[in-house]
Amino acid sequence: MNKIAQIFDSLDYGPAPEAPDQAIAWLDSKSRKFGHFIDGAWTAPGRSFTADNPATGAPLAEITDGTAEDVDAAVKAARAAFKSWSALSGYERGKYLYAIARMIQKHARLFAVLETMDNGKPIRESRDADIPLVARHFYHHAGWATHLAREFPDHVPYGVCGQIIPWNFPLLMLAWKIAPALAAGNTVVLKPAEFTSLTALLFAEICERVGLPKGVVNIVTGEGDTGAAIVNHPDIDKIAFTGSTEVGKIIRAATAGSGKGLSLELGGKSPYIVFEDADLDSAVEGLVEAIWFNQGQVCCAGSRLLVQESIEERFIAKVKARMAKLRVGDPLDKSVDIGALVAPVQVERIRELMKKGVAEGAVVYEPDGQLPATGCFLKPALVTHVSPANTLVAEEIFGPVLVAMSFRTPEEAVALANNTKYGLAATVWSENINLALDIAPKLKAGVVWINGTNNFDAAVGFGGYKESGFGREGGREGMAAYLKPAWEKGLKAELAAKPVAAAPRNPLDAGRLDQTAKNYIGGKQVRPDSAYNRPVLGPKGDLVGEVGEGNRKDIRNAVEAARAALGWGNAAAHARAQILYFLAENLDYRRAEFAARIRAQTGENGDAEVAASVERLFAFAGWADKYDGAVHNPPMRAVAAAMIEPLGVLGIVAPAARPLLGSVALIAPAIAMGNPVVLVPSERAPLSMTDFYQVLETSDVPNGVVNIVTGDSLTLAKTLAEHDGVDGLWFMGSAEGSAMVEKASVGNLKQTWTSRGLAYDLADPRFAGDYFLSKATQVKNVWIPYGA
């Protein structure tokens, strides 16, 4: 039988290779040796490492391992370019971004083939997903550049941005970093991942060809040490990192106290929830994209399947049948679904994790079929008989491995979905819109896909909750991450208050009935755990009262109470507004008493501060139902709803000055947006806030929404920073204290805001606006495709 007749019978697919010739010619034209791209020029190749094709093991090129000196040269070039680049009109910058987008489209296939050779991902993905999204990102941000002045008034770029990107979407992550940074007027020093530098280097060539001013984009290749040199460089203003949570924490600790802006897009273990009323076959197909796209090497991979028990057996059978159809092999073959993992070390890592999971009782299913004899290939795997305690359920595998569990009720689905330190993405399948839209807000994740998965667009922000990082990429919120208020650059150092020595006193001189100011936790006045009190002195050292000496356990109890009050975030915004108005009303009613207390503690005019505090409460009552989200229009038949959600439990360490306003100006935006608060009031003058709990009690504030612990600010701040149950922490105090807070926050990567010893004047009306609202919230983008 001739070959055609044989195929006529078997109907096999046969090979369908994409030719690598042009990519090889490009590599050869560079003699397969690359230096860095610094200040618009190529450096001579230095000490290097080899970039391999993970599908074949064949070496592709020699990549220079960047030194601290290389990084320094790149930062100097970026600094030199910043002044003129940021001074260009948005329109002028937009034109460069537009030119880059055009060039990427023109050379799309070369980029795609090169990406596949370097990374191992199937050509279908690099061709149909990665590169088109790259072009789209530059187009979108060309528009942002043009409209920047109008849309972000009184904002300025950070300056020089250090950007470190991963190997799973090499060029796409470059685009996500460089496009908004340049649109905003920043200049950049970018380090691609050591496994995948090639498309970044081709991109540098594009920058040359569009005539991008020298120094605006600098590409320094290298390994971990090169990245560390960027992170620690003193003249970099902002670090943007995408990669593992482990490295993200190192970067958070390293930049603590430096004043560098920071955005982190880290790992995930995203849930994929299938309800019994879903279109099951479509949910299976979505799952293929969720976990087997890019060999599962996706930070937002839907790697935890949660399927309703009533359909579990049927659904798992469907998944297994679908897995048998996945074609694993040469990533340059157009009909291949799963290509090569990026490097042997990753394959080993995944195998080790699998061994561990199996030892803990997991059962692994892999479809029949042969893998290529060489190269970094793994079969798709489905892991069952696991619970949240299994390593494979808890850890990010970053490979083609799906873990499956079942649930009984929507409530249990949410509980299992949120039972993770990560919070990047989540998927919900149900044909019942009521159910789907009920679940989406309950999932602690920055992106929720309903009846779909892996939807990405430049107009829609992407980024995580919890240990999946902070900051968003894409959309308005992504632009905001590369801008800061112009006035922030002009802040002066706060003058330290002169310490006051206690005057000689006789407590019996008080002449008033003794007051016992306690902590306020869960709606109750409670004595400090330590059973010690600390004196509060007036401006002349006179004793004006005593407050509890709060300790770790008081903070622990306060956080417990705040977590129990997280439902505050689900209360209607109108209801929160009403309570804030009521607080303002009741504080105003006791104006004279609060003014007197301020005078007693500080000697300053209390009337003005009380009036400002009442006004601030009133202002944020007004904001509660107005600082809301947006509906985006991604290029598909879907709405993407950008929902504004509270961070969760917010720790607030108030400044020493302004005993009342210093606390009120911070808790008002926090609770207006639905965050329960643990407040450490002014260490020097805490009595205004211990008085304030009587206002809280009379204003219908639910128990646990505002908790107050008095004591030593730094000690209590450290406990709050280290507490994994605290989702965000605002600290107003010294530069050293700020650095301590940022460093101590790495445990759960809570979002921090610190004053770094600078003189923020909380009485300034600018703080009655969105400055703190944006810091009290995070954006969740919910994708809702539609169509009958």
Partner: protein
Amino acid sequence: MSLKIVDTKSPQVTHKRNPGYPLDLDWVERVRMNRSALERRANTIGARRTVKKDYQLAWLLKAITLIDLTTLNADDTPGRVERLCAKARHPLRSDIVDKLGVSDLRILPGAVCVYHSFVKTAVDALAGTGVPVAAVSTAFPHGLAPVETKLREIEMSVADGAQEIDIVIERGMVLRGDWQALYDQVKAFRKACGDAHIKTILGTGELATQTNIAKASLVCMLAGADFIKTSTGKEKVNANLVTSLTMIRMIRWFAEETGIEIGYKPAGGIATAGDALKYMALMKEELGTHWLQPHLFRFGASSLLTDIERQLEHGLTGHYAADYRQPMV
């Protein structure tokens, strides 16, 4: 050797015909179809699976065997039908067959599909080829004639020698959710067909939603359909990959529940070899390779054949081919 090929090509022998099942309205109500997700799957199949070189030639030869070569125009005449049947006897130029070395495969279309008036003409013109004649029936394309008339039309076509009957359903029954009426009518049609195979044309372009299409597919299969077919070719929207995915997933579900394999026939608007390959890839991925046989899959098309011939010639010569050099359909 050639005998062996014929053997492997005849799984009809073991194919179990759909006996029909009671109408299960609970099942019908369990159907869920998400249009956006179906679109994402269906519209990327061509980018996920492709066949090249010899594989493409072999797949296109297979595609010819899956074509219901069709003429369904108001101005059809016996002469026109005879020409179509002549093409069915020799769907490929003999020089192409020889160069491909596949004369042993006896490449013939799946059927010739005509109006009732031309069944006899076609049966005579195809005598000895083994190519069955299919008749569109039951007041094609609208289906809105008295049921007695429609049953009689089926009986007459069968009497004239039609081995396959393509009936149309009343779309209004679907839009009103009157599944019982649809079931009863299709069941009656099936009975009237006797040994002739029944393809039920849903008129998917007029059923409004993917869920309706899926439910109508299921009701027709329960009523005893041998094939479910998308379109008459006369609706504004004919066969497409999304609707196909909806229907073949219902076929898969039906097979899972009953063990019975139902055929699928997209019709209308499938004109290029590239389109045909996408449909075949979708069938292979969703239902399996063995569904790519004439007893389980047909294209309702006519100009498709010419385009396939051109692609085959191009594959052989490396030159692009012109349609006028292929004997017209």
